[in-house]
Each structure stands twice: as structure tokens, then as C-alpha cells.
């Protein structure tokens, strides 16, 4: 039987492209949301995790932050903020949900607020440049140690980007644990680790906790003392 393929950690950089469209109010926001490439929807929702590794805005997606801060429409900000981009099968469905929320909100307003002294909303899309990190793992213990040391963009690539943009719904970590190591239970737990409203370092910590627990349980079952992290 062929050995299972190793997990190869991939880092990334996102190159930002300005699309040249800017919204001054919620009507324009929803109009442009319909038109822009789906990569822009990704950038302003999921892309937040790579750009803001510390929490610098009130909400974890750009649409919510802009409507709340620059338009002063806290209600729409809250309604957009609660949309979890990982709840959708693909980015088109996410786009539809965002459009639906803004349209519904507009239907209830007499006069939607305009940017007054604040910034217009600039639509951006990102181009991902993949960078092999050279780190790879063949066992659960190796995987744990490489995950602890890898640059944070690799966490983004394998959890956020893989799921939301590359069509690998479970995320790469869960996919490898399931497909190559046959660890269905652990894969399911990793898949459930919620990246939304968190930071890449927090996601890393949560995953390391899960892996440590699995390694300890494995050691206990074999009658060995748990291994100290490398």
C-alpha cells in the first residue's frame, strides 16, 4: 500500500487590486455588490482575517464596518456583521445573502444615509500568490509541530482560503486528517473550529489544543507518557 501523501504547508500573500468602483451610500453598495467579481466579495469578508491579524474595526467584514462607521447606520452594520461567510456553500450564495440584507434594509428606509465626511467604500479584489513554505508533515505529531511554527498566512490559506475560495469545503487540515490519516473524529473537530470572529493565531491555538488532546489520548491508549511539544 502506498504511503499517505504528506501535508505540505502553503503560505500566501494577497495582492490587492482596486476595482475602480466606490459606493457613497447603501444603494450604490448593493448595486456594486451585484456587479463586482466574486473575488471582491471574498476580499471584503474572508480576506479580513489575513489583513487584520489584530482586531482593528468594530466588525469582521468590511461591508459591516463601513455602513456602521462611515454611514453611521449601526442597524445595517449589525445585520451584515452577523453573516458568517463559512455558512455558505460558495461565494455566490454569500453575495446573494449580503445583497438580500442590504436590499431588505433599504426597503425600510425613507432616505438611506450617504457618506458625509467619511470614506466611500472602495471595492477591492485580491489575487493570491501561493508560496510553498517547505514545511511538510507525514504523521500527526509532525503535523502538530509544523502547524505550531508555520507563518500565519498558511493557517489562512488552509482554513479560510481553501474553504471559501478554492472549493475545498472542509478545509485542507481536516481534509488531510480524514483522507490521509483516517482520523475522522479529529477531522470533524478541526472542521468545526470556527475561524469567524477570531484571529489566525487564535485559530492556530485552537487547532493545537485539538491536536495535543488527540496525541495525548493516543499516547495514553498505548500506555506511553504524553510527548512534550517540540
Amino acid at each position: 500500500m502506498a504511503a499517505a501523501p504528506p501535508f505540505r504547508f502553503m503560505g500566501c500573500i494577497e495582492l490587492l487590486e482596486n476595482l475602480g468602483v466606490r459606493a457613497q451610500d447603501e444603494r450604490e453598495l448593493v448595486e456594486f455588490l451585484r456587479q463586482v467579481p466574486v473575488g471582491s466579495v471574498f476580499h471584503h469578508t474572508c480576506g479580513y482575517f489575513l489583513r487584520h491579524r489584530i482586531f482593528v474595526g468594530p466588525y469582521a467584514n468590511d461591508f459591516a464596518t463601513w455602513t456602521a462607521v462611515h454611514l453611521g447606520d449601526r442597524v445595517l452594520g449589525e445585520r451584515l456583521a452577523v453573516v458568517d461567510p463559512f455558512d455558505f456553500a460558495d461565494l455566490e450564495q454569500l453575495r446573494e445573502e449580503l445583497i438580500s440584507i442590504v436590499s431588505d434594509h433599504l426597503g425600510r428606509l425613507r432616505a438611506p444615509p450617504r457618506v458625509d465626511g467619511g470614506e466611500p467604500f472602495h471595492f477591492i479584489q485580491s489575487h493570491v500568490v501561493e508560496i510553498p513554505t517547505g514545511l511538510e508533515a507525514r504523521t500527526l505529531a509532525e503535523f502538530r509541530d509544523r502547524l505550531a511554527e508555520v507563518e500565519a498566512s498558511a493557517i489562512y490559506y488552509h482554513t479560510v482560503l481553501a474553504r471559501a475560495r478554492l472549493g475545498r469545503g472542509a478545509g485542507d487540515f481536516a481534509g488531510w486528517l480524514r483522507g490521509s490519516l483516517g482520523r475522522e473524529d479529529l477531522a470533524a473537530a478541526v472542521e468545526r473550529a470556527d475561524p469567524y470572529l477570531s484571529s489566525l493565531e487564535r485559530v492556530r491555538s485552537r487547532l493545537l489544543d485539538l491536536l495535543d488532546a488527540a496525541l495525548d489520548a493516543g499516547a495514553a491508549a498505548e500506555g506511553r507518557a504524553p510527548a512534550a511539544p517540540a
Binding site: G117, V129, I131, T133, E151
Partner: protein
């Protein structure tokens, strides 16, 4: 000599390793920069260090400088000002001379490369005689959101001949029919302007500048002109001074604007009447002095009413200082409002938040710490380098 490994101490974990890997991806592709000068201005300072780092990474990177006479540089300066919305006299003869000098430079310089990054307006018309092959990108460090119409109509013909453009902020981008990428400017944490200084070094430098450290310091660094609103800063200081015994330091050289001398005179008069207002006229190379002033400051202000990206904000945040800045240009992109400082629209707003911080000193330390981390993640030169290499990888991708 500073090495790429030295940045491991200051950049986010894993950044240098990622840069080494990214360099592997683009090795063998030639990356050429073209500008009007190798010295002067923050962009040139950072590019000097970027070139050293690219060379150390084993990349084939070059930097060419165009030639020109006094009239060429005067015209390029006028075009630059007009593209930023200022009214300047630029005649047809001046524009023809500008084009002719760049044609002459283009004939002499080796312009073959996989990616050619042409910085700012002065060399931009070189694109008219670009050699076959290679991707040409215009790197504009200016805010072109409201250019003077006639000069923009002239200049746009050349800008549109590039394959793409790079701007510092989405709000600076004019209408152009080519892809536009965003690369923020950056802070070099190991330069004289930003490196760590000992308390003794800071004290010695401030003694030399005649700035005592006996009370909290409010600092604004920048050219003395109306766009940076130093008079508004003095007014904000006066409101604060009723409640807090602070010193205001305004440090910078004269601006380019015709009203600069007038503003300087107002500041000198204010300083003559109040010993706690210190107006320092610093030369352009006063890197260590600015570093020491920022480190000695309690709160840094950048109360601009019009500005470019203003990377000085990130420089102050790198030194752990909360920044109160005008809500213009690139300042809101750097100041996370209420987290790393405050954006304001008036002298009163600036005074309010200065008082708020002085009354809640724990906030000063907290915001300063978050601001430094914000800069570490988003505005260090290592991120700038990775953006440029990503541009090289993306725009010169070889078909699989």
C-alpha cells in the same frame, strides 16, 4: 550592513522565511525600478533599503535614474503639484521639454526587464518608448483623486499606456483604464528614523534640540504648511493647556506651498509668546532627531486637513505612541479609530482626545502597544517587499 535576517527580530513570526521562499519563486526574473532621484523623500529612502534586501535575496533587481536639466526638474515638480490638485503654470513648451528629456533618458538607459516599475510622474513618459517585452507598471506615490484637469488630460495619455498602476491607497486612484494595485508605504524599523534608541541617546539628542523632558510632550512632525494645519495644532494645544501642563513641539522644515513662510512666521510668533511651544526647523536628513522626538513624545499629532499617505503616522505608532490625526488621505488607513488613536476633523476634536488620553494615561500605553503591533503586521518594510515580489510573481507569471 543590515541583513534580511536582522528583520527576524522585528517582523511577524515567519515573515523572513516566507520572503526567502517567495524570492525562490521569482528568481531569474529581472525587476527594474526607474525614478528621478535616488535621494530625498520617504519613498526613495525605503526603495534604497528594498534594493539592498532584494539583492541579498539573490534577485535580479536594478534601479535606474533618469537624467534631466533644471528646466526638466522644475516642470516635473510642477506636474507633480498639479496632479495633486494645485494650480501651477505649466506651458506647452515645458511639457514638450519634459517629454523630450525623457525620450533622451529612454535612449540611454537599459530598460529591458520582466517587470519595470516607474516611480512617480517625472519619468512616467518613458513608457512612450518602452521596448518590446516586459510588463510596465507606473508606481504613483501621490494622491491623484482630484488632479488639475488640464495637466491630468496631458498626463493620462502616458499613464494609460502602462500595463498596470500601483497606488498607495484606494482613495488616491484616478479613473484609469488599466488594472490598479494597492501597495501601502512602509516603515523601515532598522533605519535611523525608526531604530531603537537608548534613553541616554534620546536625552542627548533632545538636549541638542533644546527640548526639555520635564513635562508631557505633544508632537507634530511634518512640513510647515497649511495642509498640515500646525496653527490648528497650536489652537488645540491652547485648549489642552488650560487643564494640563504640557509642551508642544512642532518639528519640520518649510513646505513647498507659497504660504509656508507665512505659517512659519505665525508659529514663531506663537513660540515667542509661550515658552512651552517649541518650533523646530529640521533639515530633511534629521532622521535620528525625529526618531528621538517621537520616542520622547507622550502623544503624536498629525492634524492634517489635506495629506498623502502620511507614513509618519505609522512611524509614530511603531514607537508605541497613540496618534491623533486628521481624517484625510492615508491617515484613516493607519489609525484604527479608538484603538490606536483617533481621527479628528477640527482643532477642538484634537484637543478633546488629547485631554481624554492625558486624563486616562493607561489608554496611552494600551493604544501605543496595539498601534505598534498594527504597524508590525501591516506597515513594515518586510510587507512592502513581499508586496513588490508578489507583484513580480503575479504580473510576470510564466504560463504553466
Amino acid at each position: 550592513m543590515i541583513k534580511i535576517d536582522d528583520y527576524r527580530e522585528v517582523a511577524p513570526r515567519g515573515t523572513v522565511d516566507l520572503l526567502l521562499r517567495l524570492a525562490d519563486r521569482v528568481r531569474g526574473r529581472r525587476f527594474l525600478h526607474i525614478s528621478a532621484t535616488r535621494f530625498g523623500g520617504g519613498a526613495a529612502e525605503v526603495l534604497q533599503r528594498l534594493m539592498l534586501l532584494m539583492s541579498e535575496l539573490g534577485l535580479d533587481a536594478g534601479w535606474e535614474i533618469i537624467g534631466g536639466d533644471t528646466e526638466f526638474y522644475a516642470t516635473a515638480k510642477a506636474i507633480t503639484a498639479a496632479l495633486q490638485g494645485e494650480e501651477r503654470v505649466v506651458t506647452e513648451e515645458m511639457l514638450e521639454h519634459y517629454l523630450e528629456r525623457n525620450r533622451a533618458s529612454g535612449g540611454k538607459l537599459p530598460l529591458e526587464a520582466d517587470l519595470v516599475l516607474v516611480h512617480d510622474p517625472a519619468p512616467a513618459s518613458l513608457v512612450a518608448d518602452r521596448p518590446a517585452g516586459g510588463t510596465w507598471v507606473w508606481r504613483c506615490h501621490l494622491d491623484l483623486s482630484a488632479p488639475e484637469r488640464r495637466i491630468w488630460n496631458f498626463f493620462r495619455r502616458y499613464a494609460a499606456r502602462y500595463d498596470a498602476a500601483v497606488f498607495s491607497h484606494p482613495g488616491f486612484v484616478p479613473h484609469l483604464p488599466i488594472p490598479q494595485f494597492i501597495v501601502h508605504p512602509s516603515v523601515d524599523p532598522l533605519s535611523d528614523k525608526n531604530r531603537e534608541l537608548s534613553r541616554r541617546e534620546i536625552r542627548t539628542i533632545l538636549d541638542g534640540l533644546g527640548v526639555p523632558l520635564d513635562k508631557p510632550v505633544l508632537l507634530q512632525v511634518g512640513a510647515v504648511d497649511r495642509s498640515r494645519d500646525p496653527v490648528g495644532v497650536v489652537n488645540a494645544y491652547r485648549i489642552v493647556k488650560k487643564h494640563h501642563d504640557v509642551r508642544l513641539v512642532l518639528a519640520g522644515g518649510g513646505g513647498d506651498g507659497p504660504e509656508s513662510g507665512e505659517v512659519l512666521a505665525e508659529l514663531r510668533e506663537a513660540a515667542a509668546r509661550d515658552p512651552d511651544i517649541v518650533a523646530l526647523e529640521l533639515p530633511p536628513d534629521a532622521q535620528l532627531q525625529i526618531n528621538a522626538l517621537q520616542r520622547a513624545a507622550t502623544i503624536v499629532l498629525q492634524k492634517s486637513v489635506r495629506d498623502g499617505f502620511a507614513i509618519g503616522v505609522a512611524e509614530a505608532m511603531w514607537k508605541g505612541k497613540p496618534v491623533i490625526g486628521g481624517a484625510v488621505g492615508g491617515l484613516p488607513a493607519q489609525i484604527a479609530d479608538g484603538v490606536t488613536g483617533y481621527t479628528v476633523r477640527s482643532a477642538e476634536g484634537a484637543a478633546f482626545w488629547v485631554r481624554h488620553l492625558l486624563n486616562n494615561p493607561e489608554l496611552i500605553a494600551r493604544m501605543g502597544g496595539v498601534g505598534r503591533e498594527h504597524v508590525r503586521r501591516n506597515f513594515l518594510i518586510t510587507r512592502h517587499l513581499s508586496d513588490y515580489l508578489a507583484l513580480l510573481a503575479h504580473l510576470t507569471a510564466k504560463p504553466a
